[in-house]
Symmetry: C2
């Protein structure tokens, strides 16, 4: 175990804090409030078009930290390994995870490794926890949406979930659709720089997709929303794959997108800032916040009607992240 | 899923930050360096004499944070649930976890819940991450042991591992041995208050037991150690059970004990401080740090000889925490 930790994890994640081999990592933080978030990752398959469980475990948690407006700073990672997992697979995952952490500027400074018997796990599960610091000028929270606010999405929806489902089902078009798994904190930093006080809510529409994220925000803020189907970016391949798979892209998971609710007056500037960023080129203003005691999310459809975009019903796609 | 989170986790862990339902928890920290640590918990069985996976997941992580001299402040918790886990069992675990967090004054402020298919997990795995703040006066690290320092242990060793093994094997004496699972940060605070600058290393001897913790510290600090077998507290029942189970108590896991290495001049005061604390009543000065380029941990045995207490060989006890 000590050897595995040294020669695999600490070797690839390499940084000064990990090298200390203490029970914890210890560091000075810049001024500001601390943001902390955790996510377990149990995605199947471990390797998928556009990423793997290692990079996903970095992006997923960083994004939840960043959705507060924080600059993510450090990561902790807990691994649960199933006996029989090929060491070569684990090494690929660790290398990918190290690269994602390095790319995001957020070192993995403390970790843990547990092993369970064959048949009591599934290859590897990775739980990551991230911490970051939020500048004092920023107050972003799911309960801050108000009627009149604009609703933006940073790009096309459904890519991650469809990439996973297609690779599971071994569908022909699988190679054309890749997960959008990416770290969004650079994009968030640009938004914060553009209009710090106009930003009200940020959320990454992961499990349950855009529809769930909007319903959560409407509920938290006690408002309604109207979105315009025509404005919601969905790639043609994703739309086609959803038809074959019987999925609604509104409910399909994303791992590199965010929803932003902001003062209407700042919407165009924030949209422009998104579009200047590589991860926001397809950003769009998709609707607005309205008064609604029921907290409904409504959508103007392509045919001109309106329908309610409800909470997801029944089971979600299993092990999509 | 949203319902399970609200009606089980958020209900029992109840606190203002969780109730916000944001992607992350956000709070102001007191001044000082941040300590962060993470541990996955995969213990089997989920319920054992003296605790369960829920309380253990709180204590285990808090203790790693506290071993820096930090006051632990907040916890994050990621759950991986296996389909088919009885809801009543999960609720018992969550209630126990909530009580442990409350007892320690460290609320669970953010969390995550993932579900895997039956046969791809084992009931529940819980990965907790803790953060705390270390006062500026304190510098505790595994690399600070120096020849002449005293080595203390806060109480009897082997209780946790033996309680788990005995309950697995369904041994007769199992009811007399209970896990020592406990949160040690109160004891650590007393040590810090007694002799802040004399404290050099703290470590919780979990997997691999006292022998492993001492070897780790000797290696990190580049020193040797001599301990005295007669001074190491081991309960008679634990000793007897170890004989039956073929275990050496030196290598058996603890979940409520700490090893402390300090300036020799402060050893008696720190010992007295430990003994005044309910979790340190059986504390003992067990040996001293010596010069040794090989980094060996030696033990004076009951028969007057000396033997090397080596790193553990072969496999450790599986799923002991
Ligand atoms: N997968 C990993 N990635 C990075 N660092 C790791 C990993 N696993 C363990 N470590 C690091 O190795 C050291 C030893 O970890 P370990 O989990 O054995 O310590 P512990 O938490 O004190 O023990 P236990 O888990 O038995 O309570 C720590 O410094 C830890 O941060
Ligand atoms: N087991 C749990 N205990 C306490 N709080 C939890 C638990 N599971 C989830 N939560 C809380 O519920 C809210 C929703 O969690 P969820 O994991 O669905 O969000 P997310 O991380 O943004 O989504 P995803 O996990 O799909 O990326 C968050 O505020 C989270 O802190
Ligand atoms: Mg430890
Ligand atoms: Mg998340
Ligand atoms: Mg650990
Ligand atoms: Mg999220
Ligand atoms: Mg630990
Ligand atoms: Mg989550």
């Amino acid at each position: 175990m000590a050897q595995l930790i040294d020669e695999l994890f600490i070797k690839h994640f390499d940084n000064e804090l990990l090298r200390q081999h203490n029970d914890q990592a210890l560091f000075k933080l810049p001024a500001g409030r601390l943001a902390i978030s955790t996510d377990g990752h149990v995605i199947s398959p471990l390797f998928f078009p556009g990423g793997d469980i290692g990079s996903l475990a970095v992006h997923g948690t960083l994004n939840d930290v960043a959705m507060s407006g924080a600059k993510p700073l450090y990561l902790a990672a807990g691994f649960i390994l199933e006996e029989g997992l090929p060491l070569a697979d684990l090494e690929k995952i660790v290398i990918s995870m190290a690269a994602a952490a390095k790319g995001a500027g957020t070192p993995i400074v403390t970790g843990d490794t547990k092993v369970v018997e064959h048949g009591k796990g599934d290859g590897v599960f990775i739980t990551t926890t991230g911490v970051g610091v939020v500048p004092d000028s920023v107050t972003i929270s799911g309960d801050r949406a108000e009627p009149g606010c604009a609703i933006l999405v940073s790009g096309s929806i459904g890519d991650h979930g469809v990439a996973i489902m297609a690779s599971r089902e071994n569908l022909q078009f699988q190679t054309t659709i890749v997960s959008d798994s990416a770290a969004l904190h650079g994009l968030v930093a640009d938004l914060v720089a553009t209009a710090p006080t106009a930003l009200r809510c940020l959320r990454d529409p992961t499990r349950g997709g855009l529809a769930t994220a909007l319903n959560e925000l409407a509920k938290q803020s006690g408002v309604g929303m109207v979105i315009d189907e025509a404005k919601i970016p969905v790639r043609a391949e994703v739309k086609a794959a959803c038809e074959i798979l019987g999925l609604d892209p509104l409910y399909v998971a994303n791992e590199g997108k965010l929803v932003c609710i902001c003062d209407a007056a700042a919407a165009d500037d924030l949209l422009a800032a998104m579009r200047r960023h590589p991860l926001g080129q397809d950003a769009s203003i998709i609707g607005e916040v309205i008064v609604d005691p029921h907290g409904f999310v409504q959508m103007t459809t392509a045919f001109g009607g309106r329908r309610i975009v409800d909470w997801p019903v029944g089971e979600q796609l299993p092990r999509i992240c």
